[in-house]
């Protein structure tokens, strides 16, 4: 029985590709399988090839597989574009309607199923997705009933007849494949463990994390692949008295966030590379005025418009150093949807505790692919707004005096106060300023203020700044950031299976960089490979910039697609 397999459905954008994948993925997630769903889409509304790849496994696999076991084709283009991914003796199910031509030179099991015709016979051509799922169930040895709970959730409000029609279509597809009598027993899927888990994208988890963290305002401008965070909060914030405002641009989004934070709200905005570039002056304002804001940056292919629907990890330099002048900020990079949730909560707390702009960096593969993760534990969610002025502090301000919003303290963090509070009047300015916020060019105050702002993380390593797994006595250390975690784990397992001693260090906080901890791992390694999705080795250079000493071998990929596990496995293996 198979412990994992890979399935893909493809066709024209707008043809129900997403819904086909969702039925399969959600239903199997409910039966305790681990799902990883990756969407391929174009920057257009309708038309153009699109596909949805789903990996089904009995344990967590957060990456695409090396090859496909099953391909469902709604058109010939899908076969032409994707059949090279099909493994030897894989399964191709194509709609008989377009007279599909099987790929040459490859041994496959080919089913021309009248998907559209069966759907029409059961009520409507749009149900061809159900027929395709039924055919899939037959291949995998799953019962059609596996999909009943999903169909009920999706269609019961439209009436029992609609559920029945869909079920009939699904069963007809199932039966059609069975009737061909082709041997499929090698594709029988091992059972899932039946545990209820979540199936969501990184964007969903970021949005939900922000909600749980107490965000109430989100000024944001739409951009791929970040818009879903905004769309999620557009639905949720009205339930808690909050609001998403769609701004005129990203400059307004970041500066309105600064205003909302100054006004006393927890606030975030979301964007991708081009928007992050526009936000830079505002991020500098948040830096010098010590105004906490949270920015989601879902990285995509750059530079400029680049490859807007493609994966890349190339905004790290921009996130760290894009602003003119010198400020301190927090940059975190979750590696899966679970971390997107918890680290977003952390980011909101850290932003207010350290009073710095905070960027949550994800990448397209993480932000848009669905994945199965354990349910969130809300006892791990707490809200800490940092140093807020007490009533006593406010009452101690003499009449005619201003509140010391930028008071010099040992921790370098000063008390915050919100407009409306008596005794708290002070001035805020992007000009260098005194403890009460008055503009100054006094060189001593300038030096002290710069040291206060830049020194906030002196000697501080934020919790969970990195993770390590693999062999404690590793010879080879693989280092990554963001969505590559699952890929690196798989490559590591294969290297270990060949007898190599391998460790996997994943960086989760890019600033303040956990230099000391990383150095300990790097120093122990005979070989260090830094794996990332950009052309210039940004993570490797950030490590060096932060003083990590060692020889680094760089593996980079920047063609717009995530790695597949064998690429990393082969690269590392061939280093010997």
């Amino acid at each position: 029985m198979l412990e994992q397999l890979s399935w893909k459905v493809g066709g024209q954008q707008g043809e129900g590709i997403d819904s086909t994948g969702n039925i399969l993925a959600t239903s199997l997630n409910r039966h305790g399988y681990f799902i990883y769903g990756y969407r391929h889409f174009s920057s257009r509304i309708k038309g153009g090839h699109t596909n949805y790849k789903i990996r089904i496994s009995t344990k967590s696999r957060l990456a695409n597989a090396d090859y496909l076991d099953i391909l469902i084709a709604f058109d010939q283009e899908t076969i032409d574009f994707n059949s090279h991914e099909l493994r030897e003796n894989g399964v191709l199910i194509a709609d008989a309607k377009f007279n599909p031509v099987a790929p040459e030179g490859k041994q496959i099991r080919f089913f021309a199923v009248p998907l559209t015709k069966i759907a029409e016979e059961n009520g409507s051509a749009i149900m061809k997705n159900m027929v395709a799922v039924g055919a899939t169930a037959a291949v995998l040895g799953l019962s059609p009933e596996t999909f009943l709970s999903y169909l009920n959730d999706k269609f019961l409000r439209k009436g029992e007849q609609v559920v029945q029609n869909n079920m009939n279509a699904l069963k007809a597809g199932f039966q059609y494949v069975i009737d061909q009598g082709i041997e499929l027993s090698d594709l029988k899927l091992a059972p899932g463990d039946g545990v209820e888990r979540l199936y969501l994208t990184g964007n969903d988890a970021c949005g939900f994390g922000a909600l749980a963290a107490g965000v109430r305002l989100m000024p944001a401008y739409p951009i791929t692949p970040a818009s879903e965070i905004m769309e999620y909060l557009i639905k949720k914030l009205p339930k808690v008295g909050g609001h998403v405002l769609q701004t005129e641009d990203e400059i307004a989004a970041v500066t309105m966030s600064i205003g909302a934070s100054f006004g006393g709200s927890r606030v975030c905005t979301s964007t991708s590379g081009p928007g992050l570039a526009l936000m830079m002056e505002g991020i500098g304002l948040a830096g010098i005025t010590e105004t906490p804001i949270v920015i989601f940056d879902t990285q995509r292919g750059g530079p400029s418009t680049g490859m807007p629907t493609k994966h890349e990890q190339s905004d790290m330099y921009a996130a760290l150093w894009g602003t003119h002048g010198e400020i301190q900020k927090i940059v975190v990079a979750p590696s899966n949807a679970e971390e997107c949730f918890y680290m977003t909560v952390d980011a909101f707390n850290w932003a207010e505790q350290y009073q710095v702009p905070t960027i949550i960096l994800t990448d397209l593969a993480l932000s848009m692919s669905d994945q199965t993760v354990e349910k969130f534990d809300f006892s791990r969610v707490s809200i800490d707004r940092g140093n807020l002025a007490t009533q006593e502090q406010l009452e101690a301000v003499a009449a005619g005096q201003l509140f010391k919003r930028y008071e010099f303290t040992d921790s370098k963090i000063s008390p915050r106060v919100f407009p409306g509070q008596k005794g708290g009047i002070h001035h805020v300015t992007g000009v260098e300023h005194t403890e009460v916020g008055r503009p100054t060019e006094d060189k001593n105050i300038r030096n002290k203020m710069m040291d206060k702002r830049l020194g906030k993380f002196d000697g501080i390593e934020l919790p969970n700044s990195f993770s390590f797994n693999g062999d404690e006595d590793f010879d080879t250390l693989l280092i990554g950031v963001g969505s590559t975690a699952g890929l690196i784990d798989e490559a590591m397992e294969r290297l270990q299976a060949e007898g190599q001693k391998v460790g996997h260090l994943h960086i989760k906080v890019l600033n303040p960089f956990p230099t000391e901890s990383v150095q300990k791992f790097v120093s122990k390694a005979k070989k260090v490979v830094v794996i990332e999705n950009n052309a210039t080795g940004q993570l490797k250079n950030i490590m060096r910039f932060n003083g990590v000493q060692g020889e680094f071998i760089s593996q980079v990929k920047y063609d717009g697609n995530p790695y597949i596990p064998s690429e990393i496995f082969t690269f590392v293996k061939e280093l010997n």
Binding site: G214, T255, F262, R266, P419, Q421, I425, G430
Partner: protein
């Protein structure tokens, strides 16, 4: 109750003697006191330029932002605390050059804030370059020595086109009129623009106090002027090339943005308890199963 003195602080503005901005500062302070506001209930959010310094010269909460962005920051403040009186402020370069589209969007969005622009038809802080409101032919040794070849923007026309609900213009020489206008703008429930002709005595030798006095028409002197008539307002502004002061247009039936937000509460966000119930979070999480 706070008096005008309570809105003053010890800072001496770095404006040149005779600058029109002094009058605007005084009118704002007077209008706030006469509107019954307390200093801590007011937030003045300003941009960059000579006039942008104004947030530091009024005793209230203040935020001196970056060039052109006072309005987005001000709208953020208002969303976080709808009980505050929020005043955004800056100059013609800040508001009608680099920040023009924020102004148009703020006008159509209609949040309850008051935007006070000090228009001197020149860039003062950078020492005298032509501005978007400088007239065609405007000569200035810095940027248009042969005369400005661009057309001047008429802010009042832009405001009306963007669907503004309160439009007024003032002149630094008439503090009494300006104070009354600002009071009305603060009282107006929605976005209000008070654009003030505020001469630059150092760099603008064309648009002087005397020049304005000769060219400005006070709208109250126009017989039968109806400030609720948007078409008449536009016609009057065009007829006078923008050089008309007073409350030019007011639509009191427009609802403010805050009053239209679904689920938005009377209680300002700043006072909300942030943690959500376990029950709510669990129910929300179920959507991902």
């Amino acid at each position: 109750m706070a008096t005008v003195k309570d809105f003053r602080n010890e800072v001496r503005p770095n404006w040149c003697p005779g600058c029109g901005d002094f009058s605007v500062q005084a009118a704002i302070q007077k209008a706030l006191a006469e509107s019954g506001k307390e200093p801590e209930e007011v937030a003045v959010i300003s941009g960059i330029g000579c006039s942008g310094r104004i947030s530091g010269y009024i005793n209230s909460y203040g935020f001196h932002t970056i060039h052109g962005r006072s309005l987005p920051v001000a709208q953020g403040v208002k969303l976080a605390n709808r009980d505050l009186t929020v005043i955004a402020s800056g100059g013609d370069g800040d508001g009608f050059g680099i920040g023009l589209h924020h102004f148009m969007h703020a006008a159509r969005r209609n949040m309850d804030i008051t935007y006070i622009v000090m228009d001197n038809n020149i860039y003062g802080l950078t020492k005298g370059q032509t501005s978007p409101t400088s007239a065609q032919g405007f000569k200035n040794p810095k940027s248009t020595p042969e005369g400005n070849i661009e057309n001047a923007l008429v802010p009042a026309q832009v405001a009306l086109s963007a669907g503004i609900g309160f439009l007024a213009q003032g002149f630094s020489s008439d503090i009494k009129q300006l104070t009354e206008i600002i009071k009305a703008a603060i009282a107006h429930k929605g976005f209000s623009l008070v654009s003030v002709y505020s001469p630059c005595v150092t760099y603008n030798k064309t648009n002087t106090y005397d020049w304005y006095k000769e060219n400005i028409t006070v709208v109250d002197t126009i017989e039968g002027y109806d400030k609720t008539n948007r078409i008449q307002a536009m016609a009057t502004v065009m007829e006078h090339k923008g050089l008309v002061t007073g409350i030019l247009y007011q639509n009191e039936s427009l609802k403010a943005y805050e009053d239209l937000i679904p689920g938005y509460k009377e209680e300002p966000i700043v006072n909300h308890e942030l943690p959500l119930s376990e029950d709510f979070l669990t129910k929300t999480m179920k959507e991902f199963v």
